[in-house]
């Protein structure tokens, strides 16, 4: 809150809309939104992060038009060629164009990140708020389970799940999601505990609202902002974990152009053909950095107290 409050006075003179006292819910919401946008835009690194993410989405959407070659087309006479005007990032051991494979790889990355986030977010949010709202035995059981999950480093637990589910892209997504929800549940629970006894929840209860209605109508919306921030920051580590699984040969399987698997395949030829491992690694790093920067910026806007 304080970060925004100090931001506002300077802008008030110029922007009349923000100067007004809100007379309706919509107006108040728009004012908050504008303040948030201003805060976000004043953070150059966060804007850079967002731009890269938008670029990633655009590349994934228009991959067939951006790629210069078919990503899976093998051409052994062109194998292991260094970067040139034809093959911008060079070619791999089967003569496939690395640039085109990276372009198509953005689809794999986005697929993983999106799927994990939309699974982990709602599950963590619901488990956490229900556990925090009811307390007692339910809470104790849920917290013991999350304790157990959080007792492991993420990658080791993900590897275990992959071992059970078998290697593959879908299995990797499921394994990462299975590992990811407890952290979100913990966060949602902590938030719920602090607002559970507040007056407006008591008021809602006095009006006869059911527990379900209170959880979905009054508690979840309040937890949303910190959960969104955590999910965004989590996307960076999802990308790194997925790439790590691909690298170990337990994630996306060939010939899927997954960046981690590409790095792993390029290892053998690395000493003579450096471009095989360089480009996919840079791609992973840039995208993961972008999500980190964007998440940091988002936190300043949505959840300034946790800074």
């Amino acid at each position: 809150m304080s970060a925004q409050a100090s931001e506002v006075p300077a802008k008030r003179k110029k922007v009349a809309f923000l100067d007004r006292e809100a007379t309706s819910v919509t107006e108040a919401f728009l004012q908050r939104l504008l303040v948030g946008v201003h805060t976000f835009l004043s953070n150059g690194l966060a804007v850079a992060g967002l731009s890269i993410i938008l670029l990633l989405i655009a590349v994934a959407a228009f991959a067939p038009w951006i790629a210069t070659h078919d990503p899976n087309l093998q051409n052994l006479s062109m194998a292991l060629k260094p970067p040139s005007s034809v093959n911008w990032f060079g070619t791999d051991e089967y003569g496939r164009d690395i640039f085109s494979r990276i372009v198509y790889g953005s689809r794999v990355t986005l697929y993983i990140v999106t799927l994990v986030t939309i699974t982990v977010g709602p599950i963590g949010l619901i488990v956490g708020t229900v556990s925090g709202y009811y307390g007692g035995t339910v809470d104790m059981i849920v917290m013991r389970i999350t304790d157990l999950f959080l007792a492991f480093p993420g990658l080791i637990l993900t590897l275990t799940f992959v071992a059970i589910l078998g290697p593959g892209l879908e299995q990797a997504v499921l394994a990462i999601a299975l590992t990811g929800w407890p952290a979100i549940a913990r966060l949602a629970r902590a938030e719920t505990m602090t607002i559970r006894s507040s007056d407006y929840i008591a008021a809602a209860r006095l009006q006869g609202a059911s527990s379900l209605r209170i959880i979905f109508g009054s508690i979840i919306p309040v937890c949303m902002s910190s959960v969104i921030v955590r999910l965004t920051l989590g996307m960076a580590s999802v990308i790194l974990t997925a790439a790590g699984l691909g690298f170990l040969g337990l994630g996306a399987q060939p010939p899927t152009p997954e960046w981690g698997a590409m790095t792993s395949a390029g290892r053998e030829y690395m000493l003579d053909s450096w471009w095989l491992v360089t480009a996919p690694g840079v791609a992973i790093m840039v995208v993961s950095l972008a999500f980190n920067l964007f998440g940091d910026g988002l936190r300043d806007v949505l959840d300034p107290k946790s800074k």
């Binding site: 013991r144 389970i145 157990l148 492991f152 080791i156 790095t263 491992v277």
Partner: protein
């Protein structure tokens, strides 16, 4: 009053011990049932594909697989309490013996990585806090953000490419040059220590050349998180009134930073460092694969690729135990060094 406090303390210790035991029991249960759903036919792995039906059946019964799940669980627990964790398909040895054999290599790597990570990360964090929002802080922030964003296996590969292949400054994969392998008698399992004990400086320097790159790469990731945390701990302290008071008294800035503010974050830092040590295991899985480091991470990866569920589960159990122990140790450190937490 004195007796009351003592009894309270014992009660609290018992409570935390009980909660650890419950978590451990849950862990064993989880690993057992995860092992159950693994789509691997243990029996045919043991007897081979050409075994006849009778042999298959006999092995099936010998392993107790014809018993109800709950009985199998009981057998599993009782075997575990007797220290029998089963054999690994990969090596044919007891899994526990295997782990005891490979673990020192990982400890050696992880410890050096932690020394590098904390040795660089903590001073950088202090510098960033002191220089808050000035150029030095921004540069450090970029360095740590990169540490959070870069895939660890990729820096490992890039490091090999640059320092091993092009510059030739460091050794390649493995713990020593291949012709030094097995020359030094194993005493602690830590090659750096063993070679010094044996007085073999040639092997020692070869080992140093081999460990320095993987340890630095592994340390970089922990450096990033330790630096970030140190910075925020220090900023907290530097905004306290006692710091202003010390400055007003004319205490030099160096003393304010290191003798006043830093003193107060030592406990927090120590607990964070203890937890970071545990997370080294995670990075070790990837780093050991790249550097052909014969440690725990590589052992786990090989078992994963083979699908040996028993060995995997023992490894996972061990990681869990290490983490829980480190957590407890961190708690304990807090209680010993921070008098405020003792009421």
């Amino acid at each position: 009053m004195g007796r009351f406090f003592k009894r309270n303390k014992i009660k609290r210790a018992a409570q935390s011990l009980a909660s650890v035991l419950v978590t451990l029991l849950l862990l064993v249960t989880l690993t057992f049932f995860l092992g159950q759903v693994m789509p691997v036919d243990v029996v045919s792995r043991l007897v081979g594909p050409d075994a006849d039906q009778a042999t298959y059946q006999a092995t099936y019964e010998r392993l107790g697989l014809d018993q109800p799940i709950i009985v199998q669980f009981g057998i599993y627990i009782s075997r575990m309490l007797q220290g029998d964790f089963g054999t690994a398909l990969l090596t044919g040895h007891q899994v526990l013996d295997d782990i005891v054999r490979v673990f020192p290599a990982t400890i050696e790597l992880g410890t050096l990585a932690l020394l590098i990570g904390a040795g660089i990360g903590v001073p950088l964090g202090v510098l960033a806090a002191v220089q808050r929002n000035r150029p030095a802080d921004h540069i450090i922030r970029v360095v740590t953000l990169l540490g959070h964003s870069v895939p660890i296996f990729w820096i490992g590969l890039m490091g090999l490419l640059l320092f091993y292949s092009y510059l030739g400054w460091v050794g390649g994969g493995g713990r020593v040059e291949i012709y030094y392998d097995g020359l030094v008698e194993t005493r602690t399992g830590l090659l750096l220590v063993d070679s010094l004990l044996a007085g073999d400086t040639e092997v020692f320097w070869s080992a140093v050349r081999h460990i320095i790159l993987p340890a630095t790469v592994l340390g970089y990731a922990s450096m990033a998180s330790l630096c970030r945390l140190t910075r925020s701990f220090m900023i907290d302290q530097l905004s306290q009134e006692y710091v202003t008071a010390a400055r007003v008294k004319g205490v030099s800035e160096w003393n304010v930073i290191w003798h006043h503010a830093f003193r107060n974050i030592r406990v927090q830092l120590l607990t964070v460092i203890a937890l970071t040590y545990g997370s080294m295991l995670e990075g070790a899985v990837l780093i050991e694969t790249i550097f052909a480091w014969p440690g725990f991470g590589q052992y786990l990866t090989n078992n994963l690729l083979l699908g040996d569920m028993n060995a995997i589960m023992v490894c996972v159990l061990l990681v869990g135990v290490i983490f829980i122990t480190l957590n407890m140790l961190a708690d304990l450190l807090y209680k010993i060094f921070d008098p405020r937490t003792v009421q």
